[in-house]
Amino acid sequence: MKRLWRVLKTLTSVYYAYMVEYRAELLLWVLSGSLPIIFMGIWMQAAQSGQFSLTPVEFARYFLATFLVRQFTVVWVIWEFEREIVEGKLSFRLLQPLDPIWHHFMSHFAERFARLPFAFVLLGLFFLLYPQAIWVPNIGQLLLAIAVIGLAFILRFLMQYTISMAAFWIERASAIEQFWFLFYLFLSGLIAPLEVFPPVLQRIVMWTPFPYLIHFPASLLVGLPVDLGQGLVVMLGWTGIFWVAYRWLWRWGLRQYSGMGA
């Protein structure tokens, strides 16, 4: 356990240094996640008519929270994993007595710290332009939201990592992820809060993993009503399912691995 702790600490510090090397790119990556800000404008305009359950200011807060949650849960491991398989670079990871998932996970984890300042500067800039949207969550709400964002990141990571395992067989696993992303886009609450969905659809969607990646943590952050108990159970359930699926595919996939190009 002590050894694993040392490994995680070292991976975090080294991968943080690695990410900071790309400071210019980091700003662009943060900006590329500003899709929710665009949707915010559209929804705030639409909400002027008063036919939605959220007011324009609530829409603004929701999409700002969505932007923040997305910054902390963005995952690209499938492109890295796919490259490692296709170029045979996974071989170096397999030669070490540490499961390669730790390298991938900790590089994402460290990147969160590197993008943090950029994300907060953007948020501050928005509040400067639109001060009505400023809100201060209470400490309990904030701590709960942070914990759920952490869980959402783990769930999103495991979801994509499980799909990455397909690279052992088809090499372009990212094609599956791109298809999967469609569901993520519509059902996570990224382009519209689930409150505007028909109630039946809302109930069904709440049993899928998608709303827990964006909508659930964002709602907690801005204080929209959520079923906390069901939310946590479903999140943990899906995390467990993806973990089991990933482990099974990993063991099976390693038998297929040919260490191409290496």
Partner: protein, 327 residues
């Protein structure tokens, strides 16, 4: 107990076959056919602790596939393999702690960071204490002449320095069994010599077992007493290097630069003409006739430059195959 034992080790890969042209592409899309490639066929050998063994074969002969099976990266299709008493593909931590694989054409160091950062990761992963890590890095960087280079970003290092840093990263946990796949690939002569010297010294200091593939004959001759030769997946020679060279390739390569081009018939009277590129000619001549042929070349032709080298390893292997060992 032998450090490496392989018994009837085989690997068969399915490879998709595609005919050329549009029709072939369409067929490939709708009905993909596969061919079974026998990359390694029932090879057996045993290597004792502390031995340095050269592993030779033409490109595609099955060397790298064998190394991947020995290091546990891929599963054998058939046969048994034991390295340091472990079954490699089970990838037990104690096994991984004992071995290393260095691939000349691949790098494990993080490109944009100093090598020291990658080394710190390795130290943590292999559970090396800070003090032991510092001692190991000091010792290895002195042996490799890398002092002061480990704090520069890897991308700023020369190819030779990078390869040495790769060696350091691969050896920081003091492995007992080293698998080296073209460790001097692309290095200049000086860097090749220092890598070889380092490997010899490491082997002597730590009593490590080394299995080495290289296309540079000099790597093999400098380090290996014994070689294994693999051809089309089959082991065709296991014995001393002297025996291999004496038996199958007692030749030297003469490269000459002439003042003008000569007729091929004229050139052929001096020995086997390997290549002719206008005024530049490469001959392959038997060792015992070397002096005589060099003297004749200098006397008969207008030679501007002449050098004598070992024939390329591919040439030696080619001769081994020509000599009918396979048949």
């Amino acid at each position: 107990m032998a450090a490496i034992v392989a018994e009837n080790l085989s690997k068969i890969y399915p490879v998709a076959v595609k005919e050329p042209g549009l029709q072939g592409t369409i067929n490939h899309f709708f009905r993909r056919t596969y061919r079974q490639i026998k990359a390694v066929q029932s090879i057996s050998f045993s290597i004792e602790p502390g031995e340095i063994v050269g592993f030779l074969g033409a490109n595609g002969a099955g060397k790298t596939t064998t190394l991947k099976m020995l290091t546990g990266l891929i599963h054998p299709s058939a046969g048994q393999v034991r390295v340091a008493g472990y079954v490699p593909f089970q990838r037990k931590p104690a096994f991984l702690q004992t071995i290393t694989l260095i691939m000349g054409q691949k790098q494990q160091l993080i490109w944009d960071l100093p090598a020291m950062d990658s080394l710190r990761i390795n130290a943590a992963v292999y559970g090396i204490s800070d003090r032991a890590f510092q001692r190991q890095v000091d010792e290895l960087s002195e042996m490799l002449g890398l002092q002061g280079k480990l704090v520069q970003p890897v991308r700023k290092l020369s190819l030779g320095e990078r390869m040495k840093a790769e060696l350091l990263a691969a050896l920081v946990h003091q492995p007992q069994v080293l698998f080296l796949d073209e460790p001097t690939l692309g290095l200049d002569v000086n860097a090749q010599v220092s890598v070889r010297e380092f490997l010899r010294e490491y082997n002597q200091r730590h009593g490590a077992t080394v299995l080495l593939t290289s296309h540079y004959m000099a790597d093999i001759t400098a380090l290996c007493q014994r070689v294994l030769v693999i051809h089309q997946g089959e082991l065709i020679y296991d014995g001393s290097l002297d025996g291999l060279v004496d038996r199958f390739a007692p030749c030297r390569q003469i490269t000459v630069e002439l003042s003008r081009a000569y007729a091929p018939d004229t050139l052929r009277t001096y020995g086997d003409v390997e290549t002719v590129d206008d005024r530049f000619v490469k001959f392959l001549v038997p060792q015992e006739k070397l002096t005589q042929v060099v003297a004749r070349l200098l006397a008969d032709l207008d030679v501007q430059d002449l050098s004598v080298t070992d024939p390329p390893i591919e040439e030696v292997i080619g001769r081994v195959l020509q000599a009918g060992v396979v048949a």
